[in-house]
Symmetry: C2
Subunit: 430 residues, 2 copies
């Protein structure tokens, strides 16, 4: 596999009862595989039939475009954003691939600011909403449609509105689909049986990845290898996702209601945000669950480590590290001639970050905090696919241990109803 996992601080604990329960959802998955009834988001892993269409659509969309704007909220953008972030540090406008923007937070001026900086004639908008009814996405889409219409009337380049938009929405009657039909925007189906937060490995996450020039076959392959390892391993204690879920559950029972996910790599910052949603919405219900917190190394050593080491013992830590030794610029020994800088001189920036990650994990262990390290040999499409599948499996097993449904989100409807009410009251007052 493309990663290894090690957990410290749990050696003295007997987790056998938890492992026995963790085996239940895994055995269910194994049975579902035999019966060909795997969950929607796991099914495409058995084949790659959908990939050529995604790659073809990506090539069409990016042709002649400098920028692609993904309009999606929550599950409709976080997975894609986490995947596309792989390109972040190597990316520039001179690249052969367009820049991808994720204006995922609605605000009265943010969309205007983005639109005014884009060359609209060379921009494409990808609108993603499973239900087709997400208020923020619809509001942003209307602002973008108005801007493109205005641009087309002004420049008269002979192009159609429909060349600037692609819609991803589930089949059936819904607001976004009606809107797309009315304006003749091309529509790509969102699978009905894949929930937003489990959609990263479907068209939702893979189309933006392919537009950005990432190898989506590798992403799928990494995910598939992790899934198959889970489905084909006999001993539950040999499945990393089960070990992770069992440990988190056990720690939660002992009062550790916070899970910190701290990658030591800028490009994994968005993965931690994706994971935060995945776990929160799947496991946080019926008064149960734990709260995921994202941190980023090494910078958060300077903002959170005091609390982590010496604050309440209420956290389970997961570090993700990549193989950084020897990477990056060498610290010039002429510049670092100061005796107190001797420890850096001649080493690389990657050496420094790797030493910091190791030191932080060691310090936490010495303070008796439970620490998990997920080590990636390489950070690439393959390992991103593997990580995403690892965390989806861990979440499903975790939800089973907490005895909640991993796939619903019963509580959020109330907020949506209230929002509509307040908007209606505001309308009447105008």
């Amino acid at each position: 596999m493309s990663y290894s996992q090690e957990i410290r601080g749990q050696e003295d604990r007997d987790l056998s009862a938890v492992f026995a329960r963790a085996a239940e959802p895994v055995n269910l998955l194994k049975a579902q595989r035999q019966e060909n009834t795997l969950y929607g988001f796991l099914r495409p892993l058995d084949h790659a039939e959908d990939l050529p269409a995604i790659e073809c659509l990506a090539a069409t969309i990016r042709y002649g475009r400098n920028d692609v704007v993904v309009l999606g909220t929550g599950g409709s953008s976080l997975g894609a954003h986490a995947l596309v972030a792989l390109k972040k540090n190597r990316f520039s406008h001179n690249n052969q691939y367009p820049r991808i923007h994720f204006p995922d937070n609605l605000g009265p001026d943010s969309m205007d600011a983005l639109l005014s900086e884009l060359d609209l004639a060379h921009t494409h908008f990808l609108i993603i909403s499973k239900s087709g009814g997400t208020a923020e996405t619809l509001a942003q889409m209307m602002a973008c449609l108005a801007a493109v219409k205005e641009m087309l009337e002004r420049v008269q380049n002979g192009r159609q509105l429909s060349e600037y938009f692609t819609v991803i929405v589930e089949p059936g009657d819904n607001i976004l689909r009606r809107f797309a039909n009315r304006w003749r925007l091309p529509i790509f189906d969102h699978a009905k049986d894949i929930g937003g937060r489990y959609s990263a490995l479907s068209v939702v996450g893979l189309l933006p990845s392919a537009i950005a020039g990432l190898d989506i076959r590798e992403t799928r392959r990494g995910a598939r290898d992790v899934l198959m390892n889970c489905l084909e391993t006999e001993n539950i204690e040999d499945i990393p996702a089960a070990i992770g879920a069992a440990t988190i559950y056990h720690c939660a029972e002992e009062g550790m209601n916070i899970n910190v996910l701290m990658p030591y790599e800028c490009r994994l910052d968005m993965l931690a945000r994706w994971h935060q949603q995945l776990w929160s919405e799947s496991v946080g219900k019926a008064g149960k669950g734990t709260t995921p917190v994202r941190a980023l190394g090494p910078v958060d050593q300077h903002s959170q480590l005091q609390l982590y080491l010496d604050g309440p013992n209420d956290k389970f830590f997961t570090f993700i590290t990549t193989n950084m030794n020897g990477k990056g610029p060498v610290i010039d020994d002429k510049l670092a001639s100061d005796p107190e800088l001797g420890y850096m001189s001649g080493r690389t920036i990657g050496d420094l970050v790797a030493a910091e990650a190791r030191a932080t994990m060691e310090a936490l262990s010495r303070h008796n905090k439970p620490v998990r390290q997920i080590k990636l040999e390489r950070l690439n499409e393959y390992s991103m696919g593997a990580l995403i599948m690892h965390f989806m499996l861990e979440t499903i097993i975790g939800a089973h241990l907490f005895d909640v449904n991993a796939f619903d989100q019963p509580a959020v409807e109330e907020g949506k109803v209230l929002t509509r009410q307040y908007m209606e009251w505001g309308r009447r007052m105008h």
Copy 2:
């Protein structure tokens, strides 16, 4: 004052004992003011003598520059970043002010990527470290110095290395000061008695703000008004920072060990990150404290709200809202002609975000979660200064309630020592 605060879900609780204890640090501040011995970070608020020098330095630095890179870690960059984010949505390269970059996370390729995108001949580097020994900042500085040296040798524009760098570091002998002296880089003193996480209203936060074109006198004025209100209010229960600290402490005693700070405004996202450090490092020690979590509205309604509403009852929520009604583009009633979009039609994006914030707070209250709303009349330099002072006072009062020292960070030294050890071992192995 420029903000108001309302807390729901605490009406039935008797907080008088907590308030009595919260009065102690406030009375200490009042006495210190009489004796002219206020903490370093509060002292400059009584006058504005340092501002002309900061403004003058800012004008010199930004002259002819397109970009300014702030190299600082933790407290040396978060306050400035939070303040400069005020400009985020109105900002563009055509502006009269330079873009400000905060590459605060070290990585083997991130600095290279930034340097390759900058026009180095029109860039200035601001290097900030109170102690002068922060490994990440020193490593980044050496990479930037090497790049500028190389550029100067190539373009031969007759300029000196010293025109590209400004250093902020405390007086006395330290690595960064020795380095700056050796390369003749201009140095501006970091006050010895202002700790990094309390430095946002000193030169550390105000110089980048002034370079970005913000009115730092207004920032100071907002902060001063909040401080004076605290020092001149007789009844402790009329001081917002004391109410906040007392409520957080009381909730923590009842098992709410997580504080969520959720602004409904993109430009306050960095303020939440600054606050996360301030509270974590100040209050998280000796097994005590609570864990601050940042969220952002409305997007995190789609990622965290399920957990917040229906997960464990372990959170105290703070929302920051601005007066958004009527702001931003109007949602076109021709585009929003779908009957199910009726609630949006003719309203503004700001109306929608305001309704969402109100609905989220209402839903949490209905689920018996403690909710605080901090309302800003306007989001500008004045209210940012006010918020920063509010949270600094709340942190000092909170630390007193938790019976810890708000100003030290005893636990992090261990990680630094280990980092050096691991680097030395790596060197010997090379």
